[in-house]
């Protein structure tokens, strides 16, 4: 739904709008150069020559009318019938003469009125629904000439718009057709930027990557297998081509794999000394440690009393301790609390009423405790506390011990173990702590009945590999007192009070988990959970420090890299083979990593556009050799920044991986290169091919191609152009102005090598039949005209749905950006600061981090109903998009965009 033209009352409104400004404005410029200097060419074939002149900003402008193909549909501003409207001129004309009444404030190509649909005009124009038979029976808006005539007759006298002005304005309006009636997706605007805005409540199932990483956080040793592999966990479901389980169910197939993994991991953990982060010697102690040190991290929160009881009963009910541990492990690893990552939140009012309590983390004494300081416990020695000892304490049966300790590793590389228990021997263990820190840390132990004997603190070297060289454990303070109340986290009460009380908010645990998954693709560490529950995410400075730490962590960097491989599809290159002996698996692996390295570079160093326009890449020794470009790392897999200022390489498009991925076995795929460029770089959605009719023209084109292949004198680009850009056919809907004009980026071969240059022209060997298969073994050194003469990017300013008619109109109007080769295309889009560049970064970054899009224009078909974007959400998202755009504008840094996304209220508050 985009635009409408309500012609009724239009004359009256125009009269009201026509003032001195419009009446005195000059007639439209006769220059074909736009104010931004964008290329303007009316050539309808990308291979046709055109005379061009440079504008002041260095962009080319052509007024050539050497159109060699007829317009393929009615949307084209054909020169037939005396029509000579120019959309580029028309844009300027429209701005000067029509925009007082017809406004497109949000740039969606729909001119709304009265504030509805985000536009403040008083006259509605919908380029996809022109005509007003009820008011003007003879005018149905089906032809651009008719529209021009209508404008001249009905608007011209009021707006001082002559015949040429009317034709130009009509051409401009016509160029805005996109096949969707009504307001566009971008109608939502941010009306209250300073208010709290709300993201989506989401229940994610862990993706394979998240699953493996989260498992890794649970154990003290590396996992026995890679549990992200399809054989272990199945394939991830993709939404908008990124792994995304925000609407996924844990189906039988997936759960079967989780079960197998849980069984396997439990067996490994039990049989592998040191795998678990705690010792397990008796059921009570093991159960307690399991809850506090394992399940706490797995569930990413403190367990409820019911959940604790479940674990305890498993230990208690099993025939042996090992059986208990086995089923406890399986239970947690199969638990929805582990397999899902919840960003459902808690009602704001409920969290205010019942703040999260940091169980096991922060307790307080009732009254003043007895505190002793500066103690030291030698190996195998203990401190015992009774009523009369020193230190001494009168136990009440509801007591709390707070002990602040530190340790150092022994010469044998063991950390000390502090066992806290009751009684006179080593039984009655209350807690066993590995003191694996050299700075003081405080632990709390609650005592729920009067001890039968002393409470002891033992430097338990027997649990540290019987280390006879174990250094003493140093105690800063040890406090005994009556247990008070657990302290709620000091949350951001003011913000919670200001929020919609019926909305939802992530509690500190969920907040920490959401941050960790968004920035590292992994569950949070225990320390982040502890920090969150200690209130550290409330303070903006501390929160930002945690965010930075996550981004800069090893997992954070791997997570950043991974996005690039998915975004540009190049991670799939490992599965692509080509008929070329040099295109080895090692080359493919290095090419894939090259893309990841480039994105990682711009992510951490800023200047995102340099990813497309930069004179650099990252090479290891494998790629340096393959590309014949020195300067890469010394070994395979060792990547180094390499200047490509003197090469046609540079950035992610003019790269081996992009070009080799978008290719066939023996030759390139200019169609895939073009289509994926629009989809992945500019975030344009290309119409799907439907019901392609057979025709004599298609057959003739096929015969022509066949004869050319037999002659061996056809380039890959012509091979495809002739077969697809057939005037009048439905194929031309996409191939006339959307896809084929980008064939000028075909200066790389099918394995990502730069094509040879002969006499300063990019050439290739012609395609010819060998055993019935077209292969590039025909005539040598054929001129690839699309590269050498230049090609055009039409409809360059569109983000989202791209219609053939709109692109056709742009092409017919000569409104395109000229480029020569893939690298030049990257530079051209950056020089013109095309909106798709930042829109795509924001879309990919937010989808990757949040699991959903902020923009209706980018919804995947599977995201419908409750998984789509309601109008209310669109209004909320408009504000966060504005924040992200501002963040991007500061330094064009992907890191800034991601940080802005997770630091915003939208990330914590949900609806």
């Amino acid at each position: 739904m985009r635009k409408i033209l309500i012609m009724g009352m239009l004359s009256a409104m125009l009269a009201a709008c026509s003032g001195p400004g419009s009446s005195s404005s000059s007639s439209s410029s006769s220059s074909s150069s736009s104010s931004t200097g964008k290329t303007s060419s009316s050539s309808s074939n990308s291979s046709s020559s055109s005379s061009s002149s440079s504008s002041s900003s260095g962009k080319t402008s052509s007024s050539s009318s050497s159109s060699s193909s007829s317009s393929s549909n009615s949307s084209s501003t054909s020169t037939s019938g005396g029509f000579s409207g120019d959309a580029t001129r028309g844009k300027a004309t429209f701005a000067s003469k029509c925009s007082r009444c017809h406004k497109d404030d949000n740039g969606d190509g729909y001119f709304g009125a009265g504030g509805t649909s985000g536009d403040s005009g008083i006259g509605v124009i919908d380029p996809d629904k022109l005509g007003s038979p009820s008011d003007y029976p003879a005018y149905d808006g089906r032809a651009v000439t008719q529209l021009a005539s209508f404008i001249k007759t009905s608007m011209g006298p009021l707006a001082n718009c002559d015949a040429q002005c009317a034709q130009d304005a009509a051409a401009f309006i016509w160029s805005l057709k996109d096949g969707q009636e009504g307001p566009g997706a971008a109608v939502a605007s941010c009306s209250n930027p300073s208010a709290i805005h709300y993201g989506k409540r989401v229940l994610h199932v862990l993706t394979s990557y998240e699953y493996h990483n989260s498992l890794g956080k649970l154990f003290a040793l590396p996992l026995p297998n890679d549990y992200s592999l399809p054989g272990k966990v199945g394939l991830d479901t993709e939404v908008a081509r990124l792994p995304n389980h925000s609407i996924e169910a844990v189906n039988e197939s997936r759960l079967n794999k989780y079960y197998d993994n849980a069984s396997e991991i439990a067996s490994w953990a039990i049989s592998t000394r040191g795998a678990l982060p705690f010792a397990c010697d008796d059921a009570v102690q093991c159960s307690t440690d399991f809850i506090n040190n394992f399940a706490y991290v797995a569930y990413r929160r403190a367990l409820t009393s019911v959940e604790q009881a479940e674990i305890t009963s498993i230990f208690a009910g099993a025939p042996t301790l090992e059986d208990g541990l086995k089923w406890a492990l399986r239970t947690v690893l199969m638990s929805p609390n582990f397999l899902y990552r919840s960003e459902l939140g808690t009602k704001v009012a409920d969290l205010l009423k019942n703040p999260v309590v940091s169980q096991g983390t922060k307790y307080e004494f009732q009254g003043t405790p007895k505190t002793f300081s500066t103690l030291s416990i030698q190996r195998y020695n203990r401190i015992s506390v009774t009523v009369t000892s020193n230190p001494g304490y009168q136990w009440t049966g509801k007591d709390l011990i707070a002990i602040t300790v530190k340790g150092v590793k022994s010469p044998k590389n063991n950390w000390p173990v502090l066992t806290i228990g009751t009684g006179f021997d080593n039984a009655g263990v209350l807690k066993r702590l590995t003191i694996d820190h050299t700075s003081y840390r405080t632990y709390y132990i609650t005592i729920d009945k009067v001890p039968n004997g002393p409470v002891y603190f033992l430097n338990d070297a027997s649990f540290a590999n019987n280390d006879y060289e174990m250094p003493p454990i140093e105690i800063s303070t040890i406090s005994f007192g009556v247990l008070g109340q657990s302290k709620p986290v000091q949350d951001d009460v003011a913000k919670l009070m200001a929020a919609d009380q019926t909305a939802y908010v992530l509690d500190p645990y969920e907040y920490a988990a959401a941050l960790s998954f968004a920035l590292t693709g992994s569950a949070p560490s225990k320390s982040l959970l502890d920090a969150a529950v200690a209130g550290e995410l409330v303070d903006v400075t501390k929160r930002e420090a945690h965010v930075d730490a996550l981004i800069d962590s090893a997992l954070g960097k791997a997570h950043v890299e991974r996005l690039a491989g998915k975004w540009f599809r190049t991670d799939a290159l490992s599965e692509k083979t080509r008929n070329d002996a040099e295109f080895t698996p090692e080359v493919r692996q290095s090419m894939m990593q090259e893309i990841r390295e480039i994105y990682k570079h711009v992510f951490y160093n800023g200047d995102f556009p340099s990813m497309y326009a930069g004179d650099f890449t990252f090479l290891d020794s494998t790629l340096s050799t393959f590309y014949k470009l020195p300067g890469g790392g010394n070994t395979p897999g060792s990547f180094r920044l390499v200047s490509t200022a003197n090469s046609q390489r540079g950035g992610v498009i003019a790269s081996g991986a992009y070009m080799a991925y978008n290719a066939h076995m023996d030759y390139s795929s200019p169609i895939q290169r073009s289509a994926h460029f629009r989809q992945d770089v500019l975030c344009q959605s290309i119409p799907l091919p439907v019901n392609l009719e057979d025709s004599q023209e298609r057959e003739a084109a096929a015969q022509l191609v066949k004869s050319r292949v037999e002659a061996g004198d056809i380039t890959t680009t012509d091979f495809y152009d002739i077969q697809t850009n057939i005037p009048g056919s439905s194929c031309a809907t996409c191939h006339n102005a959307i896809i084929n004009p980008l064939f000028g980026m075909d200066d790389f071969d099918h394995v990502g090598r730069l094509r040879p240059r002969v006499n300063n022209k990019v050439v290739q060997d012609g395609l010819t039949f060998v055993n019935g298969v077209a292969v590039p073994k025909g005539k040598a050194n054929l001129d690839i005209t699309q590269v050498n003469n230049g090609s055009y990017l039409y409809a360059y300013n569109i983000v989202g749905t791209l219609s053939g008619s709109k692109a056709d109109a742009a092409k017919a109007a000569g409104d395109g950006l000229k480029f020569n080769g893939a690298k030049d295309l990257g530079k051209v889009i950056v020089q013109n600061d095309l909106p798709g560049i930042s829109a795509c970064l924001i879309e990919k970054s937010t989808r990757y981090a949040l699991g959903y899009s902020l923009d209706k224009a980018f919804l995947d078909p599977v995201e419908n109903g409750r998984y789509g974007i309601s109008n209310g959400q669109a209004a909320e998202f408009a504000c966060i998009k504005k924040e992200l755009s501002s963040a991007y504008a500061r330094a064009k840094s992907p890191r800034d965009v991601v940080k802005a996304a997770v630091m915003s209220d939208t990330f914590r508050f949900r609806k």
């Binding site: 069984s263 009910g317 208990g324 599965e575 019901n691």
Partner: protein, 431 residues
């Protein structure tokens, strides 16, 4: 059914397992009917109850009912639908169904239906679904095999080559397993160790409670996600219980043998690869591990295999009929092989599997070259008495959803209980 005498007989364990399954299902069904107070006559003639209750307990019938869906990408050339079972020529794309090859056409109903989405607009219409509706296999698993070890088994051959989104993965039941060895390990591997006691019950109870807690935070329209998970938990739980039972199937008796190596990078290799997956599905039926199978061969955007210098996707669109037609002809060997395998393999009753199995060939659009939605090649092959016998062939304006509605009827399932958008069968004419 004379041919059953020539076929290898099932092991006693398999027969016993299936007999117990049928008895248990019947008891549960009758218990349910008794508790509901519904008379059997009411049940028989009420479409609502018939759709819900009899369908849910369809396995209470004396013979198990199975269905397998085989998807092949890109539709078919115009000559796919033969005029008779015997008039199939060597160069015809349906050659392998004919007397010159597997000769299974005499039990095949060839149909040309409308998949409604012309070309690259989704793949799930092949199984009657779309981007939000369940595909038929996802719902039939619980109906046809409420006590099966697996509600369905979904295998593939280059199925996920171009991604795993709803646009290319035909089933809403999950993701396909594209590797035969992994599939074999998964379904015929070592029986998981369960322990010597009932501690596992505590574990599964904890999981179910956790799900209920999550459910309480979800909106009602997301309950199906939780229900899917709960059903899956129940399935594993009952499998653990059954595996401890002496009547558990002897998986080794059914387990097929795989060659040492295989690949799927060429069209010919992909055919061989898909046949291995077909063997695994047939074995799963034989061992009664499931009542619903899906095999996805390629996808409409896939390019993971090559044919005459083209990748798979380009072969369908860039090579013209001289490339595409023979590629598809070769691919259609897989369904013919699969049907023959079902004819040659017996179930627990000693009958050929084809007597209790509806083999359904599907795709997601009509003609790969033209991206048409019409005349999409769909096929039913079976000897189940509830379907029309013999050979038939016709084009119809009915939809793929209608086709699936007809198949459901033949399986004894009211299509209204499935998510077929109200399709009732049109003039597909299979029952």
């Amino acid at each position: 059914m004379n041919d059953s005498k020539k076929l290898p007989q099932p092991t006693d364990k398999i027969a016993e397992a299936q007999r117990k399954d049928i008895q248990k299902s019947r008891r549960k069904f009758l218990d349910l009917v008794a508790k509901s107070g519904i008379g059997s006559a009411t049940l028989k003639y009420s479409s609502l109850l018939g759709g819900v209750m009899t369908a849910r307990y369809a396995s209470a019938a004396d013979a198990p009912k199975r269905v397998v869906y085989l998807y092949i990408h890109s539709g078919a050339p115009e000559d796919w639908r033969p005029s008779s079972a015997s008039a199939i020529t060597t160069n015809q794309s349906s050659y392998h169904y004919g007397p010159g090859s597997y000769n299974v056409a005499p039990i095949c109903h060839f149909r040309g239906v409308d998949t409604e989405v012309s070309g690259h607009g989704g793949a799930r219409q092949a199984l009657g679904g779309d981007y939000s509706r369940n595909t038929v296999d996802a719902d039939l698993g619980a109906i046809l095999g409420p006590r099966s070890y697996y509600s369905s088994i979904y295998l593939g051959s280059n199925a996920s080559d171009s991604g795993t989104g709803a646009g290319v993965i035909i089933s809403s039941a999950g993701q396909p397993e594209d590797d035969p060895r992994r599939a074999l390990t998964r379904y015929f591997g070592a029986v998981p160790e369960t322990g010597k006691d009932d501690t596992y019950l505590l574990s599964f109870d904890a999981q179910k409670r956790a799900l209920e807690n999550i459910k309480a935070k979800l909106s009602t329209d997301e309950y199906t996600r939780v229900q899917t998970h709960l059903t899956a938990i129940g399935k594993i739980e009952s499998r653990i219980a059954d595996l401890a039972n002496a009547s558990a199937p002897d998986l080794n008796a059914c387990k097929p043998t795989l060659p040492g190596t295989y690949d799927d990078t060429t069209n010919a290799a992909m055919v061989a690869h898909a046949k291995l997956q077909a063997d695994i599905l047939v074995a799963a039926f034989k061992c009664d591990l499931t009542r619903v199978g899906v095999l996805q061969i390629g996808n409409h955007n896939g390019s993971g295999w090559t044919y005459r210098g083209f990748d798979g996707h380009s072969a369908a669109h860039s090579g013209g009929a001289s490339v595409w037609n023979p590629m598809m002809r070769d691919k259609f060997e897989v369904p013919a092989y699969f049907i023959k395998k079902l004819m040659d393999t017996t179930d627990s009753t000693g009958q050929p599997l084809i007597n209790s199995t509806a083999f359904v060939q599907v795709t997601c659009f009509g003609n790969g070259l033209s991206h048409a939605s019409t005349n999409a090649p769909f096929l039913l092959a079976t000897k189940m008495p509830s379907f029309k016998p013999g050979f038939s062939s016709k084009g119809t304006a009915s939809t793929s959803r209608d086709f699936h509605a007809e198949v459901a009827k033949g399986l004894g399932v009211d299509p209204k209980g499935l998510k077929l958008g109200g399709a009732t069968g049109g003039d597909v004419g299979l029952v």
